[in-house]
């Protein structure tokens, strides 16, 4: 089998593990990359990519996340294009223009996201949880110098800088009040997503017509800005609360003045540094971006796959695949997160057992071998 992997310009976290997996199965793999300024329109890319496809005699093209022009080129010559998306929402304007092309097999990790496309009539969008390379992670050896990563509580991730404040500065009082009340209701509510329903056509049109200063806003952009703002608030509030009592380390691109007691550690490298952080932290937090309505974010799998103890906000699919309090722990609000942190920091033996069980579940059910076998069966290989 001969697979061409298309990769976004600067690379994706999953590319080395996916390439390694394909090669371990005897698949011949080639990778090409490109950075788009416009994902829907780029004649140069199409000409170049057409040549690559013509030259290589590939059985299929694979990419992490979906790229419209890759789909267009694949469709032109009738080659299957398989994409596995770890972004939600997808950063692809007008995705529905190309998503339905017959060459496409699009896998998404959030069941609600898939349902949304299925409801719109797309029969080539499938559900597939994400995966981790537990073989690589289990081979990682800790050195004395790695004690630097030791911590009671760690969080690896962004704080999400939302544009909502800017948008709201261009709205009338009714719209501001409406959006604030939805965000407040969504905050600390897990397992139910209110934002999209609250932004029905009537309310969206009301907000849209109230915009000043020439601002135009799609429903999708407003929805994402609201989800990001709620996520930011939740992340900051939880980290602030925990840091009042415990040693909390934050690995992020952004330092916040609202978190004076959090140890800001800068960013971390994905393949070696991040697993060490997860292994050496008593508790690893996962605070999911609100727009991921039901799926298991890659970060949660990264934590368990590295043998770390996971304390996550409630996500429906997390509790569907993993046994709460046995393989990982979920919280349902700030106070719950604090109380559970307090308990598990005092009980290292329980923590260790849960982390071990979580690792076993991930290695058995969320390995690349498992997920790709399901995907290729569905595709017909």
């Amino acid at each position: 089998m001969n697979i061409l992997i298309f990769e976004w310009g600067g690379g994706t976290f999953t590319h080395p593990d996916i390439t390694e997996y394909f090669m371990s199965k005897g698949v011949k793999v080639m990778t090409v990359s490109y950075a788009f300024s416009n994902k829907n329109q780029d004649d140069f890319f199409e000409h170049r990519f057409d040549k690559v496809l013509a030259k290589g005699k590939f059985d299929l093209v694979f990419s992490t996340n979906f790229f419209p022009l890759v789909a267009v080129c694949c469709n032109r010559i009738g080659i299957k294009y398989v994409s596995w998306c770890y972004d939600n929402p997808m950063d692809v304007p007008d995705i529905e223009r190309t998503l339905g092309l017959p060459c496409n097999y699009v896998f998404m990790f959030d069941r609600m996201q898939v349902q949304g496309y299925t409801d719109k009539g797309f029969d080539n969008v499938f559900y597939m949880p994400l995966a981790v390379n537990t073989k690589r992670l289990s081979g990682l050896r800790l050195l004395d110098k790695d004690n630097y990563y030791k911590s009671q509580i760690s969080f690896v991730g962004g704080l999400y800088d939302s544009s909502l404040d800017i948008y709201m500065s261009c709205m009338d009082d009714f719209s501001k009040g409406y959006i604030e009340s939805i965000c407040n209701s969504q905050s600390n509510l897990y397992g139910a997503y209110l934002i999209d329903n609250a932004l029905d056509d009537e309310h969206y049109n009301r907000i849209s017509t109230s915009l000043r200063n020439g601002l135009t806003l799609t429903k999708k952009d407003l929805s994402f800005a609201m989800a990001a703002a709620v996520t930011r608030k939740e992340r900051i509030m939880l980290l602030r609360l925990l840091s009042e009592h415990y040693d909390v380390k934050l690995y992020s691109t952004e330092r916040s003045e609202l978190l004076p007691k959090v140890n800001y550690m800068g960013t971390c490298e994905y393949f070696e540094e991040m697993p060490k952080i997860f292994k050496l932290s008593d508790i690893n937090l996962n605070i999911t971006l609100k727009i991921i309505q039901s799926g298991i974010p890659l970060r949660a799998l990264d934590i368990m796959g590295a043998g770390g103890f996971l304390l996550s906000n409630y996500q429906p699919e997390l509790c569907e695949y993993f046994i709460p309090d046995k393989e990982m722990v979920v919280f349902y609000g700030l106070e719950d997160a604090f109380e559970k942190s307090e308990f598990y920091l005092k009980h290292a033996d329980v923590r260790k057992t849960i982390a071990e069980r979580g690792y076993i579940k991930v290695s058995e059910e969320f390995d690349y071998d498992v997920q790709f076998s399901k995907m290729f069966e569905l595709i017909g290989y």
Partner: protein, 159 residues
């Protein structure tokens, strides 16, 4: 169309005449900047200088900046949204670790000799447009101008 020519600071004098010549030719297509990078500067500082120039076309001389990698080990240049011509004028600049770095589809690789180009890994050779530079490329304005025109056409930046 904005062009950026990047050269290592230590090569500024050596290639002074060629840089002047190239810049003069590129001016016909828009703004031109020449950026000298000091290798002792931090990688992310050097990369920011390149990225922040906001160019449509990038020319690098003797693989300057090929040591700038992302956290995933990918060539930093792959992140840039522009067409790029990497010019290998001195064979001595080619390090083994540069020859297997994946280059994205918007890149073109040019060298003074075919032997140099053949040292790149099959994955690079397979998908990146690689060509030998014409004789007198660095000294003859007519030759350089014709090469620039061909590159811009190949990169679909001019008709």
């Amino acid at each position: 169309m904005k062009s950026l020519v990047v050269v290592d600071k230590s090569n500024e004098t050596k290639y002074g005449h060629f840089l002047d010549l190239l810049s003069e030719i590129l001016k016909a297509y828009g703004e031109v900047d020449v950026l000298s990078l000091a290798s002792e500067e931090m990688a992310h500082t050097r990369f920011s200088k390149i990225r922040d120039a906001g160019m449509d076309i990038l020319f690098t001389v003797d693989l300057v900046g090929f040591d700038i990698l992302t956290t995933g080990g990918i060539l930093g240049y792959n992140k840039l949204v522009c067409k790029t011509a990497h010019l290998i004028l001195d064979d001595g600049c080619l390090k083994e670790e540069y020859t297997n770095k994946r280059m994205n589809l918007s890149m073109f690789l040019y060298a003074n000799s075919v032997n140099i180009l053949s040292r790149f890994s099959p994955e690079v050779i397979g998908f990146v447009q690689m060509e030998k530079l014409p004789e007198e490329f660095m000294d003859n304005a007519v030759v350089t101008k014709a090469w620039v025109q061909k590159f811009l056409k190949d990169a679909e930046l001019i008709d």
